[in-house]
Amino acid sequence: MHEHTIRLLINGIEYNPTLTSNITLLEYLRDELHFTGTKDGCKEGECGACTVVMNGEAVKSCLILAVQADGASIETVEGLAGTDGGLHPLQEAFMKLGAVQCGFCTPGMLITAKALLSHNASPNYEEIKTALSGNLCRCTGYVKIINAVAYAASIMDSTR
């Protein structure tokens, strides 16, 4: 009862760790797998730097016990770029539109945006703002981040 062996699909690769119940998904990703792209900003679900996609939905990984994610498919920021190294349109957009300053919130923003666009291919500004309302940024003032998401949406939409 203290330890569980679980199955996780992370960025398309299967893992079968044995974990104690008091480890969050965030801790597992960073400390065990060294996927340090996902950030630990607050440990209490207030900042969104820990956002990952789980079973198609953006969630805060610091608020999930790793054991609860048994059987889930997880996408982290490490999985955004293509296997050929080509950047995801969201990553291109963030760079092009100056939506990155210190970069700490960026993985969370990218992942939340990716999840948004997978459900809503052409969100308006209000929808982008609502979708990102769980991700804090202390540097940019959000405007360029929202613009970048809208821009990425338009690129991705036009290549459909």
């Binding site: 009862m1 209490e44 805060k60 609860q68 609502t130 309302s133 769980g134």
Partner: protein
Amino acid sequence: MKPFDLVIAHNLYQLLEFIKENPSAFLVAGATDFIPFIQSGRWRTNLAIDITRVKELHFLKFSKSRVDIGTLTTLKELAISRQLQTSLPILQEAAASMADPLIRTRATIGGNLCTASPASDCLPPLMVLDAEVSMISINGERRISIRDFILAPGKNALMPGEILSSIRCSVPKNGSGMGFLKLGLRRAMAVAVVNAAALVVLENGFIQESRLALGAVAPTPVRCYKSEEYMKGKNISEADLSVAAGLIQDVIQPIDDVRSSAGYRRWSSEILARRVLEQSLMRAREKQNA
């Protein structure tokens, strides 16, 4: 996080048997309160049971006269439900105002009720709707009013061996309108400074019934019966909503805390009370004219 044993429940019977044998086990669903509170030491446990896979507890059912909400229904499911927006808009609006979309994907209504925060956004709507909660154990079911379920800050009416299984709301009759408002320090990820919900039922230009509930201004969310009494039976044009709102002052006991002061809460709750009554009346008249 301090270590604890965790068991995974796969069905309702297994869950009820387990908590009968282990009444002190903590039920974990979305974990959006559980993890922060265990980490901060506010909650302590050696044993927890994950109930997210108990499908019998996860439903959102609509009939002509009522809505039945399983305890595992997520805030997101409530927030995006068009049917809920039509039949119980204040509950849909409250759910949509909570936390943020990432947390709403995981957090459950049952968890919110069982945490029993005085500032819960779902509670004033449920109180105004006179919701009933069902608590079950291996021995059977108990049903009580939502008002009797929330006992004190952080304290609910569950007995050892019981779980909150569902919430039932009657759909208000024709001629009704409802309103919900939340005042927070920002538009997302904000615990309410004050929240308010109201319902009015109109008939032939008269207020047949009126209900008003306020949250974050007392140890538990409160119904404002004096305001309700004042409104009842009055012609719409006679009902002075400022007077109705003023009558909340006897019932609220706001405090100073990290988010706000007692004085500000006392002042702003009266304004929110008036506004949700206005909203309710306006929506009731819109429906009548429709």
